[in-house]
């Protein structure tokens, strides 16, 4: 077992972005609109933490207040941005021509490639809770693309399910990357089998999971390398995201 790092929930970077003042053009919504963002890796003004892991560069745990709060249309190149909606509703608009609404369990993969813009909005009446994962692409300047999927926790309990990656039923991605999600309906100890040449970033969304004798609570995370077998002792009602990446 080789543990690269353990990052507790409270050790992450924290940003509070309001829709008025210096960020008014970047953050949309009512003047009291608010986004909170916990960053697992260095991002924007948070630069005192971990720079990234493998091809993962950003992992944001974000909450958008209701009434139109979000990120106005803005450009990207090359990064592959994935969003996993945990609660509320996310309206995603992009320059590929897609206007989409995603709810809890829904996720997307937006590859900006040679250039793409997107807006991320909460036009609903309740908080939007969403995880954002940014990864470097395997090839630069690819044509931009957007795909969406849905994770059905009830039909897939107690085992890690591949959401993104080169597996049947998963969304394909232009990178040596695999994102899986584990939701437990009882105390379970499933085994995740990564390629030992890759690393795995494990983020506990809810509940509690023990890996390599390290107990992770809600929003705690860790990274492992050199494993071909990761045993995850998860309590009933846990929700865990696993991101397997080339190093």
């Amino acid at each position: 077992m080789s543990v690269s790092f353990v990052l507790r929930a409270g050790e992450r970077g924290f940003s509070r972005l309001v829709s008025s003042g210096p960020n008014a053009s970047y953050i949309s919504g009512h003047p009291d609109g608010l986004i909170t963002r916990h960053s697992s890796f260095n991002f924007h003004e948070y630069q005192s933490g971990i720079a990234g892991f493998g091809c993962i560069r950003v992992f944001g745990d974000e909450v958008f207040s209701p009434g139109g709060t979000g990120y106005n249309m803005h450009p990207h190149h090359n990064f592959i941005i994935s969003a996993f909606v945990l609660g509320g509703a996310l309206t995603h608009v992009n320059t590929i021509g897609k206007v989409d609404e995603l709810r809890a369990g829904d996720f997307y993969v937006f590859s900006a490639g040679a250039g793409g813009k997107h807006a991320e909005l909460n036009i609903g009446q309740e908080d939007l809770r969403v995880l954002y994962l940014w990864t470097l692409p395997g090839q630069l300047m690819a044509p931009p693309s957007y795909l969406r999927g849905r994770f059905d926790a009830k039909a897939n309990a107690n085992r890690p399910v591949c959401l993104i990656g080169n597996e049947s039923g998963a969304l394909p991605i232009g990178q040596a990357l695999k994102v899986s999600r584990l939701v437990t309906a009882r105390n379970s100890t499933p085994v995740y089998r990564p390629s030992p040449a890759r690393g795995v970033y494990v983020f506990v969304i809810e509940g509690e999971a023990k890996i390599a004798d390290i107990v992770l609570g809600a929003r705690d995370s860790m990274a492992l390398t050199g494993e071909d077998r990761i045993e995850i002792a998860a309590r009933s009602g846990s929700d865990v995201l696993l991101v397997e990446t080339a190093l």
Partner: protein, 60 residues
């Protein structure tokens, strides 16, 4: 010569190529670009760039 990608909007800079259209000669190191230079894509000043070195470059 190195290649970089900025976390902001994904602006890419290849030191070998420079950005002649934006006044940066080929072969200019990222460190030698003036601090008041702004991103031609998103307008962020150089002081706000978050450059990550990319170890590969596949040209289309």
């Amino acid at each position: 010569m190195k290649k970089y990608l900025c976390l902001g909007c994904g602006f890419s800079y290849d030191e070998e190529r420079g950005l002649p259209d934006h006044g940066i000669a080929a072969g200019t190191a990222w460190a030698d670009i003036p601090d008041d230079w702004v991103c031609p894509d998103c307008g962020t000043p150089k002081s706000g760039f978050e450059m990550v070195e990319i170890p590969y470059w596949s040209r289309p």
